[in-house]
């Protein structure tokens, strides 16, 4: 065992002779990767690549030139054009209507499933969870063609008045968004301290009072996050809508798709910017709702 001691006998004999530093002093801790120059450059470059296209799109929606490449001065005229483009405007309204309806129903359905999975044990629960996860894992294109086949097979009426003509798309959107809501809400409930509920009952509250005063408030951030997710997923969806929509029900992504296939136009930039602003605002609002909650982590 004694050889364990005193290898590397490089010690300078006697006194306090200190060997000089072998290079630059370390200024960055070994795990402070975020302060390393090359990693910083890499992250900055990646973020640049991630955001540059989006920002160019936004900036050039204000460009006073159809060629869309050289800056010719600031203008709002393409916003005006996009607003007055009946097809684009209708598609925008359709998309928002579908997204709002989807959000409401998907949040309710998702919350119920989340409570079910959170509170109950029942035979076949893992299989049921797998069943609920189907819309999350299955490729969109498969879902899209399935919806197309389904609605044509059962003979879903077409040519109905607004907003009933959006029903098929909305139904499909709800089907693929509510499992996402269920996951988000359930993840939130996993952090619920059951003693809170027991305390409430101990203090004399009924089941219903406990549910409304203890469980629902705890669930709220999850509900908001889930609702936001449903809203964005619905607004974002192109593939499923593309297959479900009839010729007279055009949503914004479908409309943009048909416009983009022909050319890149500033109107599309303008309308896209509007949609980006809506989604980013929705995200920020949802984050605001969630922030005060940080302290009650269990």
């Amino acid at each position: 065992m004694s050889e364990l001691a005193g290898t590397n006998k490089a010690a300078s004999p006697g006194g306090r002779a200190i060997a000089g530093p072998r290079g630059r002093h370390m200024t960055i801790g070994p795990l402070e990767y975020g302060r390393r120059f090359w990693l910083r450059c890499f992250v900055a470059a990646t973020f640049l690549l991630l955001y540059a296209p989006i920002f160019t799109l936004i900036i050039f929606s204000f460009n006073d030139s159809r060629r869309n490449i050289v800056w010719r001065g600031f203008t709002f005229k393409y916003y005006e054009k996009a607003w007055n483009n009946d097809g684009l405007f209708e598609a925008f309204t359709n998309s928002l209507t579908i997204a709002v309806l989807t959000t409401i129903i998907a949040t309710v359905l998702g919350a119920m499933v989340a409570l079910l999975l959170w509170r109950y044990r029942f035979p076949g629960k893992p299989a049921y969870e797998g069943f609920m996860a189907l819309p999350i894992v299955i490729p969109e294109i498969c879902m899209g063609v399935a919806m197309l086949a389904f609605f044509s097979r059962i003979g879903w009426p077409s040519g109905m008045p607004w907003p009933l003509n959006l029903s098929a798309i909305t139904i499909a959107h709800i089907a693929f968004t509510f499992p996402f809501v269920a996951i988000v809400v359930r993840a939130r409930m996993a952090g619920f301290n059951r003693e809170l509920e027991e305390a409430s009952k101990d203090l004399g509250a009924s089941e219903w009072q406990t549910f409304m005063n203890v469980i629902v408030p705890f669930m709220r951030p999850g509900l908001i996050a889930g609702a936001l997710l449903a809203f964005t997923l619905s607004l974002d969806d192109f593939v499923i809508t593309f297959f479900t929509a009839g010729p007279e029900t055009v949503t914004f992504p479908v409309k943009v798709y048909s416009m983009v296939r022909f050319s890149v136009t500033p109107e599309v930039n303008a309308a896209s910017t509007a949609l980006i602003v809506i989604t980013v605002l929705a995200t920020i609002v949802a984050m605001r709702f969630q922030t005060p909650d940080k302290t009650e982590a269990t």
Binding site: L31, Y33, M112, P139, A149, R153, D236, T283
Partner: protein, 304 residues
């Protein structure tokens, strides 16, 4: 007293709506497609489910389609690999960032995910096209080089006129588009595992004499394997089934399975064949998921 946990009525109230919705509006449509994949066309509009396997045989036996399936797989694999290579340093930096920076950096990674897929793809087009910004920038550099060469006396326009790079409508554009669109899906699971990783494993490795690179390969890489596998699956599956990106960025010579499926249901009007292709895609998806659960051990199917 019966608490609501034991109440059958509450159980069924909670269970029924979601289950029914998913069964009628999701499983039933898939079942129809599944049935269709064993059907034959009897006329231009009619199909009959005859139990034939001809659609699958056609998909897996025709060189054209086999080539497309193969191409879809390698394009997706390459895009996934590039996502992994780019996302790992990002996830690393975010996970080791000071606490006050973490949410901001994470937000910066996730934010593009909230922006419409079509808009992001469209934005890429305006950057990549022949009259787009990349070519614009290159032309500027080219002209600059030309004038410098002219200035030092090599005569005017030595390099010749600028030929814009054809960056759209090829496989490169599709892969770049897929990487651009699905990167956040790779960063998030990686970040989650690195964040959960006990930092003292890294410190111990360094302390025992391993270099940073050695520490990465011997400690970080094996210990973050579950996150890597999750990320690969989360990116590979949507890449494989992607339709919009190859459609807009790939043009005719960079078709993937998704585009073939779409063509069968829209232009070609051969639903049974399209259905068979869709189900092949689904089987591939399930295969990938099974692989993942093999890797990640027995974990709940619902976590990312």
């Amino acid at each position: 007293m019966e608490t609501w946990k034991q109440s059958k009525a509450v159980f069924w109230t909670l269970a029924t709506p979601g289950t029914l919705w998913l069964a009628i509006f999701f499983v039933a449509p898939l079942a129809i497609i599944w049935g269709l994949s064993f059907a034959e066309k009897t006329s231009i509009v009619d199909t009959e489910i005859t139990g034939t396997l001809s659609n699958y045989i056609r998909a897996l036996g025709t060189p054209v389609y086999l080539k497309i399936i193969w191409k879809s797989i390698w394009i997706s694999a390459l895009a996934t690999l590039m996502c992994l290579i780019i996302a790992f340093p990002i996830a690393f930096v975010v996970a080791f960032a000071p606490d006050k920076w973490k949410p901001i950096l994470l937000m910066a990674v996730i934010l593009p995910f909230w922006i419409n897929l079509l808009i992001r793809t469209y934005a890429l087009i305006s950057v990549f096209r022949t009259r787009g910004f990349v070519n614009f920038g290159l032309e500027w550099l080219w002209d600059g080089a030309n004038s410098i060469l002219a200035f030092i006396g090599l005569g005017p326009a030595v390099l010749g006129a600028f030929e814009p790079l054809q960056m759209l409508y090829n496989n490169f554009a599709v892969i770049a588009g897929l990487v651009y669109v699905y990167m956040p899906f790779m960063v998030l699971p990686l970040y989650a595992t690195i964040e959960r990783l006990d930092k003292s494993f890294l410190e111990a490795s360094l302390d025992l004499g391993a270099s940073q690179a050695r520490t990465f390969w011997s400690v970080v890489f094996p210990l973050t394997m579950p996150g890597i596998v999750s990320g690969i699956i989360l990116v590979f599956i949507p890449c494989l089934g992607s339709f919009l990106t190859p459609d807009l960025l790939g043009g005719t010579n960079a078709t993937m399975i998704g585009n073939v499926i779409e063509r069968q249901f829209k232009a070609a009007n051969d639903w049974p064949f399209g259905a068979a292709l869709s189900f092949l895609l689904m089987y591939a998806t399930f295969g990938a998921l099974a692989l993942r659960s093999l890797f990640a051990g027995r974990k709940s199917g619902m976590e990312v």
